[in-house]
Amino acid sequence: MSTMSKLDFSQWSCPLPLRDYPSIVMGHGGGGQLSSELIEHLFVPAFRNPALESMADSTVLPRPAGRLAFSTDSYVVQPLFFPGGSIGDLAVHGTVNDLAMSGATPLYLSAGFILEEGFPLSQLAAIVNRMARAAREAGVQIVTGDTKVVEKGHGDGCYINTAGVGVIADGIEIGPTRAKPGDVVIVSGTIGDHGMAIMSVREGLEFETIIESDTAALNGMVASLLRFAPHVHVLRDPTRGGMATSLNEIATQSQVGILIEERSVPVLPDVQSACDLLGMDPVYVANEGKLVAIVDPSVAEAVLAAIREDRHGQDAAIIGRVTEQHKGMLAAKTAIGGTRIIPMQIGEQIPRIC
C-alpha cells in the first residue's frame, strides 16, 4: 500500500491492484475495497492535503475570519476533453470563479464524481490530475469527496459536482443588485471562446483553426482588481448563456438599463467566423474564464489596468455603461450606428438553417 502511494500520478496507468479493472466497475462505488483503493491510489495522492487525508466522514476545518461564500455547480460537459481544457479544469475553475464573483477568496472545494460503469480508469486519472493542477494553480484545496458508479448507459462517462467555500474580507460588498446608472461595464477578454471550442469538437464541425476554451480560475484577477477598487459594484462570470444573459440578469436585478457598444466587445476572429457560419451570436456563447465587472466611472480605468495586468485579462475592454433608461433591459449600439435590444434567450442558441 505504501509503495503505491509513492507513484507518480502524472504518469498514472492502472497500477496494482486496480489493474484487474482497467475501467470503472460497479464495485468502485460500492464502499468496499475497490472504493477505498480508488480513493487511496488516485484521489488522495492527486489532491493531497492534510484535511483530505484525515479520511473522516466529514472534513473538519478551522473557522476563517470574515463572511463565508458558499457555492456549488455540476459539470456534465461533453466531450470530457476539449481544446484548452477538460471537465476536470471546468469543475475547479467554475466553482472557484463563482466564489470569486462575490469577492471571496476561495479556500476549499468538495468533489463528487458520478462515474459510468466501464469508464476507463486512465481517463479518470487524467481528469483527476487536471483537477489537482487547476486547484493548485488557483490556490484552493479539495478537502472532501465522494464517488458513485451508475450502470452502463445511465451516465455519460463522468459527471462531477464541486462545492466551494471562500471567505470575504470586511468592506467588500459585491452583488448583482448593486449596478448604478453611470457605472462602467468592463469585460475581461474575448467572449464566446469556450462555447465555440465545445461546439467545434462536439458537432463534428471542422474549422480550419482550433478554437481553445478559455477555462481559467479568475480569483487572482479578482484579488488584484479589488486592491484598486474595493467598492466594485458587480462581478459576474458569464458562463452558460454568455455575456448577454449575465448583463440581462444584472439589468433586471439592479433595475437599471445597460447599453453596450457592439464594436467594443472583444471577439476572436475565429470565434466570430464560427458564429457567423452557424448563425449564432457570440454574446450568448458560454465563457469559462471571463468576468464582467460593473464599476464606478472614477475607478474604471484603474480596474481595467488591473485586469489587463492579469494573464487571463490582457484583452479586457470597457464595453458600455449602465443607464437610467430602459430599465431591466440590455441594449446595444450596432457597429453601423443602429440600436438593438439584446434579450434573454428562451433556451439554447440553435444554429440556423441558412
Binding site: 430602459h326 433591459m329 450596432t334 457597429a335 453601423i336 450606428g337 443602429g338 440600436t339 435590444i341 440553435i350
Partner: protein, 368 residues
C-alpha cells in the same frame, strides 16, 4: 476579418444610408424576400438608418416559417416511430406542430438529432444500417443542392435505410404570388443572394417585365444590403425597373450549373402549400418518381395527415407584408418565442421573432 469586416464598416454604411435618404423623393416599400436578410436588417438596425426613405417589408423567405403545419405533424409522426433516427437542422426543432414540437418528441424518447448537412444524416444512415434514418429536407433553392446530393448518393450507394421528408419551396413563384395579391404594397424586391448563387438570376427577367418592379440581387452583410437598397431606390426614382446584380462576388447570371443539373435530376416542380399563405401553384420541389423509395412521406405512410392552423395567428399576412408583426393581435400576448402560435415567431429568421427579440415592439427612440 477578411471578406467580412469590409462589409460591416460603420462609416461606409452611414454614408450609403445618407445617399439613399437623399435620393429618395418619397418613401418606397421594398421587400427583402429572404429571412436571412430580415435578420441582418433588424440585427444591425439598418431599418433605423433608412427611416423616412424606405420601408422594408419582410417577405416569406424563411424556410422554417413557411413549412406547412401538416408537414411538421408528419415529421413528428415519423420521428416518434420506434427505430427511427430523425435528423433536422436545429431551428426546425422548436417549430410547433398541431400539438407539440420536435424537442418535446425528443424529450419523450425519440431519437432526434441536429445535423448541419443532409450528408451528415446520410453518414448516420451508413453507420446505423439497422435503423431508419430520415432527414427533414426543407428550404429554398439554397439548401436544395445538398439535399439533392444526399438522396442521389443514397441511391447510388444503395443506402436503403435513408429517406428524406421533402418540403422545398421556390422564390420566383412566391414573388409572383405576392405581386398578384390584391393587397400588394410591394414596389421592389431584394432577391436573395444565396438563392441566386445556385439558380442564377435569369428567372427574374419575366417578373420584372410582367409586374414592373425592380429586382436587385443582394447579399447579407450590412453593406451588401445597403448597396442593394441603394440600387433599388435609384431604379424606383428613375422609373425604369430592371434586374440588377448587386452581389457580383457570389452570383453570376446562369448560377451554379452542376447544382442545377443535379436538382433537375432529383426533384420535379410541384404545387406547395405555404404556411400562413396557402397553396401556390408550381412553387416547390418534390422527389421525382425515380427517387420515390427515398421519400419519407411515402415510406412512412404519413401522406394523409392533415392539420389546422391557430385562429389567432396572422403570420400569413405578416409573410405577405400586409401586417407588421407587432400589429398582430396575438403578438407578445398569446404568441411569444416561448409559446409560438405560428412559425414566424419560432425561427430566428422569422419576422415576428426578429421583432420580438430585437425589441421592435418598444420605442427604440428611448435608447438612442
Amino acid at each position: 476579418m477578411k471578406y467580412l469586416d469590409e462589409f460591416r464598416d460603420g462609416d461606409l454604411a452611414r454614408s450609403l444610408a445618407r445617399e439613399i435618404r437623399q435620393t429618395a423623393t418619397r418613401k418606397w416599400a421594398i421587400m427583402e424576400v429572404c429571412g436571412g436578410q430580415t435578420h441582418s436588417i433588424v440585427r444591425n438596425g439598418l431599418d433605423q438608418l433608412l427611416e423616412g426613405a424606405v420601408e422594408m417589408i419582410h417577405g416569406p423567405g424563411c424556410p422554417v416559417c413557411v413549412t406547412p403545419l401538416e408537414l411538421i405533424d408528419k415529421a413528428l409522426a415519423i420521428a416518434s416511430t420506434p427505430g427511427v433516427i430523425f435528423c433536422s437542422f436545429g431551428d426546425m426543432l422548436r417549430v410547433p406542430g398541431s400539438r407539440f414540437d420536435l424537442f418535446r418528441v425528443k424529450a419523450d424518447g425519440a431519437d432526434v438529432r441536429v445535423v448541419y448537412s443532409p450528408l451528415d444524416a446520410l453518414q448516420i444512415a451508413r453507420e446505423n444500417p439497422g435503423r431508419e434514418v430520415v432527414f427533414f429536407g426543407i428550404g429554398f433553392e439554397t439548401t436544395a443542392p445538398a439535399n439533392a446530393m444526399a438522396v442521389h448518393q443514397a441511391k447510388l450507394q444503395r443506402i436503403d435505410n435513408f429517406s428524406m421528408l421533402v418540403s422545398h419551396v421556390l422564390v420566383p413563384p412566391a414573388i409572383e404570388a405576392i405581386m398578384t395579391s390584391p393587397s400588394c404594397r410591394v414596389q421592389a424586391f431584394l432577391a436573395a443572394g444565396h438563392v441566386c448563387s445556385v439558380m442564377g438570376y435569369w428567372q427574374y427577367y419575366p417578373l420584372v417585365v410582367r409586374y414592373h418592379v425592380p429586382i436587385v440581387i443582394t447579399g447579407f452583410e450590412p453593406l451588401d444590403l445597403l448597396e442593394g437598397i441603394r440600387r433599388t431606390v435609384a431604379q424606383l426614382e428613375a422609373g425604369v425597373p430592371q434586374v440588377e446584380n448587386a452581389y457580383e462576388r457570389a452570383v453570376c447570371f446562369e448560377g451554379n450549373q452542376p447544382a442545377q443539373k443535379l436538382l433537375s435530376e432529383v426533384f420535379e416542380v410541384t404545387d406547395r402549400s405555404w404556411r400562413g399563405i396557402g397553396q401556390i401553384p408550381r412553387s416547390g420541389w418534390k422527389l421525382r418518381e425515380e427517387y420515390r423509395d427515398f421519400d419519407a412521406e411515402y415510406r412512412f405512410s404519413v401522406e394523409d395527415i392533415r392539420a389546422v392552423e391557430s385562429p389567432i395567428c396572422r403570420s400569413g399576412e405578416v409573410l405577405q407584408g400586409n401586417l407588421k408583426p407587432n400589429e398582430c393581435p396575438g403578438f407578445g400576448k398569446e404568441c411569444t418565442p416561448r409559446h409560438p402560435l405560428g412559425a414566424t415567431m419560432v425561427s430566428s429568421e422569422g419576422a415576428c421573432a426578429a421583432y420580438y427579440n430585437y425589441g421592435r415592439f418598444i420605442a427604440v427612440d428611448s435608447i438612442r
